[in-house]
Symmetry: D3
Subunit: 162 residues, 6 copies
């Protein structure tokens, strides 16, 4: 029942303790930041290291990017999201490059800089050229334009599309 709470608690030693001298603090509370710093392998618990190890093995690389190191403050979420990424981005009926292009396109549409950078790097590694990236961005931009026009105008779906 309290598995999650306990698991999270076991990682809280990693929360940065910052000097509370940046501004007024009239209530003597212990200062906790909304920002979570990356947890490096050397500082990680065994269960976090197990996920890091799987990330590196799956990706045939020797480092782990910041997203996972920040999620590591909450080990169950780290494990869950990594498991989802492996399932969704793993082998299937769309080729690996197309999958990354789709991830980049959604991230660009949502304006998530980190995700554009990380999945953009993955897409380049899988072969995305700069010309392809330009075309992808053009599609993201135009889809956002026509999505608004269609929705605002309340265009009825053609029977042929149903």
């Amino acid at each position: 029942m309290f598995r999650r709470a306990a698991a999270v608690a076991s990682a809280t030693g990693h929360f940065m303790s910052r000097a509370a001298n940046e501004g007024p603090q009239t209530d003597g509370q212990k200062h906790m930041s909304v920002k979570r710093e990356p947890i490096e392998y050397a500082d990680a618990s065994l269960e976090v290291r197990a996920v890091y190890d799987d990330i590196m093995a799956t990706r045939r690389t020797d480092w782990v990017n910041n997203f996972w190191k920040v999620l590591a403050h909450d080990p169950p979420t780290l494990r869950r999201i990594w498991s989802n990424i492996k399932d969704v981005m793993g082998p299937g009926t769309l080729d690996p490059l197309t999958k990354e292009l789709l991830y980049v396109a959604v991230s660009a549409s949502n304006g998530c800089h980190y995700c554009i950078a990380s999945h953009g790097a993955a897409a380049r590694k899988k072969g995305m050229t700069e010309a392809q990236y330009s075309e992808l961005l053009s599609i993201v931009g135009l889809a956002n334009e026509t999505n608004r026009l269609v929705t605002a105008l309340g265009v009825a779906v053609d029977p042929a599309f149903l």
Copy 2:
């Protein structure tokens, strides 16, 4: 200077005149609906027909879907958007199916039903299978999840991605 205004005016005969008996109207105004009905080929002006003709020729089909028929109330916009679609979705360095998949993914992320339906149909015509569509939706969903986690947590972009 008034090119656009004149062009638009020439199409206003197509606005639906509806009985204003659906609700209170205390000011005697001429009722104009926010909704624009599709303009069929038979009712279209010559400049609108020219765009419809180009759409059908480019797509090797004999019909025009509702999006264009609704845009036809504003001929300069009809021409402009169609020209953009031809440029962006035409031959390039990404194959035609991948382009449609990207359009569907952004539209799904934005929740535009019409665009999912119309570009989904185009993608199916170009070979998208149901299994591929399932994978595409999984990526759209997961990217929306991780986009929020990354942004909310303020994850710093790894130098390797810069």
Copy 3:
């Protein structure tokens, strides 16, 4: 302290009681719908009628649109939102038509059908032509396109704009 709760409670007689026969209900709970039906003037409490009266007097009309009739389930919110609308949309340094155009543009960008319809009607009453509405939609569409391009590409703000 419980002012809000009491005020809301006084209006709950208006929640629709629906037959719970549309689907499985295995727990005997009292069925409450997520949808709130409009509360008509004749059925409204005195405090709700006071807001309706002010809406009609301010707008020099003899009816109230559904948005307010649905908000009426929560009288403090009804009063608060109406007060905000009067403040923000009342006389200022932008003319009344421009204000409605801005409201329509944001609503179109967000895909809020009701808001496009209601503020579109208000804009037409204040003089918006169909050609102007077409131009407004073009701007909404194009801004959504360039907003994504700019954000995805991480364009640095020119010093001249700072």
Copy 4:
């Protein structure tokens, strides 16, 4: 009629005058920045100070955060938004911590860094633990994922939910 305009004008002495030497300026215009700097208590007009005083009294603190100091360039909006926050976030039927959690969740979903930081701090002050924040973020992420799946798939609302 010009109440708002006058009120705003009375605060314009606070707009930062910046050297216009950061870029080309070919038209001799007076440079006005899109960015508004916080107005400190010492520099504020009497009507702005009255709001600052009420913020500090309500929150039992001796400082005012930047959001209000920036809104202070437009005193009617400063007063209006503060009044809304007091109404909506004040005592009601949801406990104060739950209200802050909801504010943080919406802000995280919208990617508003400042709002996550400020309402996150308020939530921590009211007792939010790091483990609870982790769970909140997980819900925000998952809701954004399923929201897209549901909308894209056009899932019909079950009669039991109506």
Copy 5:
């Protein structure tokens, strides 16, 4: 390697075959709809039934709502999303009602009708009153307002919040 593709293929017998007589079809393509109909228990494969069974057991109910029946066209995604929901919405440090309130708030902010309806029903079952729902909606609305003001004005995060 092709586990996902095979799993999906095994469910495709459930895709609705519709008469292609609703509109022009000039290319003889096999018509596939973008819309997926719910798969009832009686028609479901064994692996889909296993998830349905777990949903009903976990929720102590005897029916399954449409979201899962539509996801059932893609069994791996059905299993994955259900597993995520169980993890995220299961016992933790936030009480079950608060979790549902957070889910409803994000869904309301995103405008997902189905999700508001389904998680709103779950929240009511766990005790959410109409007055609480009204307060939740007020927070969602106000957060969306202040999120935009803060972001547009580029308010700097106070050091005390860092």
Copy 6:
């Protein structure tokens, strides 16, 4: 057929080549950044200069802002977007200031800093006062609030608005 690809390729000399020493690079790949640096006039190809020249002539200015210099990595998109901007923001039935206000409002609603800054500067040049900008922001904020309330509550469009 490969017009776009060739055009893009002709500009790729401008992609920044950065030292790949910022982080682990275990695969010897050529490092390409997701960020595109502005291409100055002196470094631009003839086709890019032609667009820059037209931008400066149309705007009666002697400089080009970063958006165009970044788009210049993809000349066909540079030309296409500039052509769209000229069409949509050029003379029509809405006056030039109103058009810029609408662009700023949508950009503020979407949280695009660069677009708020650049179109805000254009609006100021055309006469937007600080008081008007304050009112615009108030409308953007309030519309975002009521858009969510209306959508979440599923308010039915009044027949008078249809």
